[in-house]
């Protein structure tokens, strides 16, 4: 055993093709469901199950290999690069929706309201000369009916504090890991996971309020669309991040990580900070402004 000098090249990987089959089944099922086919939900559940089994199997395999010292420093660098560029691709994904918010809010809604010479200007002149550009809006067609926009200083502000604190506890846990202080590592992670799921619960509460009391839905014109798309995808990422951190917590219990070898922890922490920063963007551009 010990550490190998050669770069570890795994052989005969069975999980990738299983995972692909699961993902494809799930998506085909979702598409069938959207088309009103009765087989859709069954396929979705089946595909998701396969996908989760794949994740569990693949990560167990990786964790085992890592613990038996099969990865040298160079393998670690590959993994770090992989995670870094994955997070970059996620940033680009969120950039689309932030860009959409910027474009509609500052450009196309103004054109629809008769300001400037953009492509929507003639739409104003011909179809909706009475429409005035304001934000938030559900457009000249008042799509989705009357709604109340989401304020910043209630639940969203509390959620900001929660996510920021979770970033601190995550870093505290990392310091614990580096100092080989197991108690600090586990407590820090527990706090982070707890705060993460608390965030998701409060977000769910906020959504419930929007739908039941404020008339604010995904269908509330461009405001509702951008609001729920941005916060929804972010909330989903918080969920995923909290699940990842739970796995890291479990592995910490089993005594997995060492100060010099804990890529999984780092990757999870990076992901968590990324989710945190996206939230700050959301809080400023979706809620405050």
């Amino acid at each position: 055993m010990a550490t190998h000098n050669a770069y570890y090249i795994p052989h005969k990987a069975t999980w990738p093709v299983i995972g692909t089959a699961g993902l494809m089944t799930m998506l085909a099922g979702f598409a069938n469901y959207l088309n009103g086919s009765s087989i859709g939900p069954t396929m979705m559940v089946l595909g998701l199950t396969i996908f989760i089994v794949m994740l569990a199997g693949w990560f167990t395999l990786q964790a085992g290999e890592s613990e038996s010292g099969m990865y040298n420093t160079k393998v670690g660098i590959s993994y770090r690069m992989g995670m870094m560029w994955f997070i970059f691709s996620e940033i680009m994904f969120f950039a689309v929706f932030f860009g959409t918010l910027y474009y509609t809010r500052n450009l196309s809604v103004s054109w629809l309201g008769g300001i400037g010479d953009g492509p929507g200007r003639s739409t104003h002149d011909i179809l909706w000369p009475a429409f005035e550009a304001v934000w938030p809006t559900n457009g000249p067609g008042k799509v989705g009916g009357e709604f109340e926009p989401m304020g910043a200083w209630g639940v969203p502000f509390i959620n900001t504090l929660i996510l920021l604190s979770s970033g601190v506890t995550c870093t505290w846990a990392h310091h614990g890991l580096l100092a080989q202080n197991r108690q600090q590592l586990i407590k820090g992670l527990m706090a982070t996971v707890g705060l993460g799921f608390l965030f998701v619960c409060l977000q769910a509460f906020e959504y419930h309020e929007a739908y039941s009391d404020m008339g604010l839905t995904l269908g509330s014109g461009i405001y509702g669309s951008t609001f729920f798309m941005l916060t929804g995808f972010h909330g989903f990422h918080v969920c995923v991040g909290a699940i990842i951190l739970s796995v890291i917590l479990f592995r910490s219990y089993k005594g997995h990580f060492k100060p010099e070898n804990h890529f999984a922890f780092e990757a999870a922490a990076w992901y968590w900070h990324f989710v945190d920063v996206v939230w700050l963007g959301l809080f400023i551009f979706v809620y405050m402004m």
Binding site: Y7, K12, A21, A31, W85, G99, V109, P140, G219, I222
Partner: protein, 540 residues
């Protein structure tokens, strides 16, 4: 580049467990070997090239004469849409990923790709994505018929195919992102000692930059089609003016992805051309570092020119002007490249084997495609060219006699290395001349049609367009049929080729130009288990 190996020991028996491939079909399903996965990508791309080609034949058959001949208009539009999607995402991109898989580890002296398991997954995700896409052909309402750009509101009228097309894009995106991340990590982390960045073959450089493009743009396309999905099924108003959205927003997002996307197909093309031309000109590549910087410049520019695809949509005047001038800038680094290829050949001891023939044709014909691109970058002129056959001619010149020709060149160039067998040079040359002549009969008349006002994506046309359409179709049929020769050559070479035993170098003095030629032909299952020593040569 220009690095040679002093001495290295490749096929050392490994000291521990069995490293051979699995037996039978399973070898290909669970493989993590960069050569196996490269082969899978290349063969998959070849199959898709003929699937997409068959769709093109349907299009050209329908356009052979004015009037409706063979297919329904809706199906015709599905064909133009699916032809584009299959060729872009099923043929050209996977073919270059296949080349990257095969060649990059061998070119930089690495044992394999950095993340071999993910490598396997990115191939199967591609298959899954293409399967979902292909399944739409058999659905109620037909395959997407909106053009490959999937513009709303038209695309929202697609029948049951819409969610399948959207999820197909998601899977293809995941596949491309995983492939790109793997290539970036391999190039940054797996180079042999001494293989500095500025010694890497240009093919490796162009793929590194392409990798960045892919990681940056595929999530953007995924986001755009996600909004199509929610607009159709979840009541959102992103692209609906009544709700305060804007269909033009989709075009901005799509082309923010789409313009770098076309460079994803052309940058590795540049890389292969820069690899092949020096070998057959028997000279080092002229202006290596300027090639690297030009590639980076083109990649950067690709992110800031997207709205030149939308000149006629009603952009504000400032936008028209900015995107016009920014687009013209692309001609500068591209011109540097064309100049460098020409200067590489200048006073070289040139020979004209099939890979070189395809490469020279690429330099000439790609330049033509580039020049029509420059014409269209002029916004006022674009009002005449927009959505006509002129644009069809333009991008086919940049994709067929450019990307596809270079893929053919790469096939001829590396097939002897991959298989250990020599292809039949006579048939190769026949394939080249048939392709090079017919591709011009096919696409050159489309410039005239476009300038005369024939719109793209229509199954029927006014009679004054009849002659050139018939000529174009004839060229298309010859071009399509000629590609069967390539299929024959590939199979023939895999099965033993001319029977001639090829050397490690294959091409005269090729080992001066790339590490892959220092390995046996075919190379062992694991190429560089111990890193080779890189010695700089004088002409760096």
């Amino acid at each position: 580049m220009s690095a040679v190996v002093a001495e290295h020991e490749h096929d050392h028996e490994h000291d521990h467990h069995d490293h051979g491939p699995a037996k039978g079909i399973l070898r290909w399903i669970i493989t993590t070997n960069h050569k196996d996965i490269g082969t899978l990508y290349l063969l998959f791309a070849l199959v898709m090239f003929f699937v997409g080609g068959a769709m093109a034949m349907v299009i050209r058959a329908e356009l052979f004469e004015p009037g409706m001949q063979f297919v329904e208009p809706q199906f015709f539009n599905s064909m133009t849409t699916m032809h584009a999607l299959v060729m872009v995402f099923g043929a050209v991109m996977p073919a270059f990923v296949g080349l990257a898989n095969w060649m990059i580890p061998m070119m930089i002296g690495a044992p394999d790709m950095a993340l071999p398991r993910m490598n396997n997954m990115s191939f199967w995700m591609l298959v899954a994505g293409v399967l979902l896409l292909a399944s739409t052909l058999f659905m109620e309402g037909g395959a997407p018929a909106s053009g490959w750009t999937l513009y709303p509101p038209l695309v929202l009228q697609t029948g049951k195919a819409l969610p399948f097309a959207v999820f197909s894009v998601h899977l293809l995106g995941v596949s491309s992102i995983m492939g790109a991340i793997n290539i970036i990590a391999t190039i940054f982390n797996m180079r042999a000692p001494g293989m500095t960045l500025m010694k890497m073959p240009l093919f490796v450089w162009t793929w590194l930059i392409t990798g960045f493009l892919l990681v940056a743009i595929m999530p953007v396309f995924a986001g755009a089609v996600t909004m199509l999905l929610t607009d159709r099924f979840f009541d959102t108003s992103f692209f609906d003016a009544a709700g305060g959205g804007d269909p033009v927003l989709y075009q901005h997002i799509f082309w923010f992805f789409g313009h770098p996307e076309v460079y994803v197909m052309i940058l590795p093309t540049f890389g292969v051309a820069s690899t092949i031309i020096p070998v057959f000109a028997r000279k080092p590549l002229f202006g290596y570092s300027s090639m690297v910087y030009a590639t980076a410049a083109i990649a950067f520019l690709s992110f800031i020119v997207w709205a030149h695809h939308m000149f006629t949509v009603g952009l504000p005047m400032a936008g028209e002007l900015y995107f016009m001038y920014a687009t013209m800038l692309i001609a500068i680094p591209t011109g540097v490249k064309v100049f460098n290829w020409t200067a590489t050949m200048w006073k070289g001891s040139m020979t004209f084997e099939t890979p070189m023939l395809f490469s020279i044709a690429f330099v000439v014909l790609f330049t033509m495609g580039g020049l029509t691109g420059l014409m269209m970058s002029v916004a006022p002129l674009d009002f005449q060219y927009h959505d006509t056959y002129f644009i069809v001619a333009h991008f086919h010149y940049t994709l067929v006699p450019a990307s596809v020709f270079i893929l053919m060149a790469a096939g001829y160039y590396w097939l002897p290395k991959w298989t250990g067998h020599m292809y039949d040079e006579k048939i190769g040359k026949l394939h080249f001349w048939l392709s090079a002549v017919s591709v011009n009969i096919l696409f050159f008349p489309q410039h005239f049609l476009g300038l005369a006002g024939m719109p793209r994506r229509i199954p029927d046309y006014a009679v004054q367009f009849a002659d050139w359409n018939m000529i174009s179709s004839i060229g298309g049929f010859i071009f399509g049929a000629s590609q069967l020769l390539f299929l024959y050559i590939v199979i023939h070479t895999i099965k033993g080729g001319t029977g001639e035993k090829v050397t490690d170098e294959v091409w005269e003095d090729a080992a001066k130009h790339g590490l892959e030629w220092t390995l046996p032909s075919p190379p062992p299952y694991h190429s560089f288990t111990t890193p080779p020593t890189i010695i700089p040569t004088e002409h760096i």
